[in-house]
Symmetry: C2
Subunit: 353 residues, 2 copies
DNA sequence: ATCCTCCGTGTAATCGATTCCACGGAGCCC
DNA sequence: GGGCTCCGTGGAATCGATTACACGGAGGAT
């Protein structure tokens, strides 16, 4: 493969001049520039990014470590991150932590070894040594979706509190009074936050959230199934199950079906995180949608700001309630809304009465 | 950040010796090794992968360019690729081509600039210059899922013909006679191959595949909807719609619902590519499942073989039919099969009567 | 006792770019 | 016309590792 010296030789100039042409340095004569460009084209020369990175100490690569790539929410996040990064001239190396702190640490370590310019993480657990260390020793870092307390790192996330309040209002309006929730791991911020918001919203209607109505999940399908089965075994099972993420909602739906229950007639279901497939389930599932693509973009922009030495602030975008049929009342025009939900073309604020 | 010289100084040896210790070179005294290891631990030294790559001319990075990350099939593929690569000591940079040859080319170019050791591609279209060039000029390359004719590159893919024959047998057994298919883009191999197999299987039952029963899709939801609407507008609409991928099947389901049709009573639906969500749709969708995780693993192993100078052969794994309710007959024990379909723990051969 | 071999180690070249510095020449001002 | 300032250019250092080569010393064979 042709190197910069070959180009220099072919153009009859020095390697320094070739470099200047390629990096748009002003001090190059029109004549030399033309000859270099011609040589580059003829040899099909492409600069070696590895060598460049060594010299300039920047790789124009971002590391993204997420908890579960198979979760559609994170898939969409990863996609928008990659898109925005590409637009800004960065590549992305993705690591899947699979909700395991050990794996997360492992990924962070390799990413650091590769001298990525910045790190985008949705931390799996209270914290993992490598990552905290990276953040503290100055590697530009941004948290997405989840975060870790007491670490001075910008956080880009959605605030579901208003939407959860809307959801509870919706459920209460439909006559539901016994509301249960399947929580995420207590260690994750999203896990505990959603429970708190749910309890607070219930409080506004004078409702309690008894201990047995809080199921322990881990954001995976199986845990949703287990928690729901526990609810159904209760002497007084809930009217509604609210799953703190999409996969657990699917598990819950499974369990309800297995018990021969009809949703929403016998029991209602709602989920945090909206995904295209919720439109096609039986019945379509009412969910709280995060502005996922915007989150991904914003996270990348914040991270790049940090990399370029600018300051970056945390950002919280509102989530919004998308009413479908799984809680009872058929929404006025599901079909129309459906198509838009599948692929939001632009960010929108919450839209509800 | 500490460099190899700092370690050398701290251990009282030369940089060469440090390097030898780190690379398990035999010629190092036990004493020196111990001192180096101690210095490494104390300084928290991590070798700079960029510098190492420049010198050794290998990055231990793989490039993966896929057509659509949001498609669950490719998501799963990407995940298994990343897993296997990690196990073999490689990182993966993922590029999303979004079914656009231009974007695909763009990704291949950046990956090549970064001097990745090997390229894993599911080509979007007949071919894109950069990629063909890469393959020809010796960059280790492996095609997954799709491929390009006349290019000497190993292909790892699933063979759906047997499963499609099983599907047609299943449909015919249920009394369906007017079978339609929504094809993928003609330019992709998977697009045309599935139609051919379908037509051949119909032939075995003395059935025709008329032109108006072949819908043109592009592997996206919207095209499935459009094609299905065209079918339904026909004077003699089909009994069954077979979608050549999962997203188009979802679009088809949408269109059927919009026309007030009940699946499978009024019309049947089947899909190529099985995904966890097909269990939760209304009704659960009969599909042809590819051994996705195995494909990802095999592709990585083939690519690494190429990289290490060994030979790699193409590999074709069989897909298998998973019967659910969308074509008519209720399968004996859906619930039991459901849980296993969600996450196959080990590869299985086709299991059907 | 002498020579040869092997082992552990250090010196220096190398990978392919970027960039600091010096230098020659052209143009400008006085 | 002499001195100054720029401008375009090339030489050489540099980034942080790996590795070919040389070298001194220990130990074995004769």
């Amino acid at each position: 493969m042709a190197g910069i010296k070959d180009v220099a030789a072919a153009a009859g100039v020095s390697a320094a001049t070739v470099s200047r042409v390629l990096n748009a340095h002003p001090s190059v004569s029109e004549d030399a520039r033309a000859r270099v460009l011609a040589a580059v084209a003829e040899l099909g020369y492409r600069p070696n990014a590895v060598a460049r990175s060594l010299r300039t100490a920047q790789t124009r690569t971002l590391g993204l470590v997420i908890s579960d790539v198979m979760n559609p929410y994170f898939t969409e996040l990863a996609r928008s991150v990659e898109e925005e990064a590409r637009a800004l001239g960065y590549s992305v190396i993705i690591g899947n932590a699979d909700e395991s702190p050990r794996l997360q640490d492992d990924h962070v370590r390799t990413l650091l070894d590769r001298r990525i310019d910045g790190l985008l993480v949705s931390p799996t657990d209270g914290g993992s040594p490598q990552m905290l260390d990276a953040a503290r020793t100055g590697t530009p870092t941004v948290f997405v979706d989840r975060w870790i307390a007491d670490v001075d790192v910008p956080v880009v996330r959605a605030d579901g509190r208003a939407a959860i309040r809307d959801l509870v209002a919706h459920l209460h309006g439909l006559g539901h009074r016994r509301l249960a929730i399947i929580a995420g791991p207590a260690a994750t911020t999203t896990g505990s936050e959603r429970v708190d918001a749910f309890r607070a919203a219930l409080g506004e209607y004078g409702l309690e959230l008894p201990e047995e109505y809080v199921g322990q999940g881990d954001f995976q399908v199986a845990s949703g199934r287990r928690a729901t089965e526990a609810f159904l075994a209760l002497p007084e099972p809930p009217d509604v199950v609210f799953a703190a993420d999409n996969l657990m909602a699917l598990g819950a739906l499974d369990a309800m079906r297995a018990h021969g229950l009809v949703v929403p007639d016998d029991i209602a279901l709602a989920a945090f995180d909206d995904i295209p497939w919720f439109v096609h389930t039986d019945p379509p599932i009412t969910a709280i949608a995060q502005p996922t693509r915007e989150l991904g973009r914003a996270a990348v922009r914040a991270l790049v700001a940090l990399i370029e030495g600018r300051r970056a602030r945390s950002l919280t975008l509102p989530a919004r309630l998308v009413v479908r049929r799984s809680c009872g009342a058929p929404p006025p025009s599901e079909e129309a809304r459906t198509t838009r939900t599948t692929r939001p073309s632009r960010p929108r604020k919450r839209s509800n009465p």
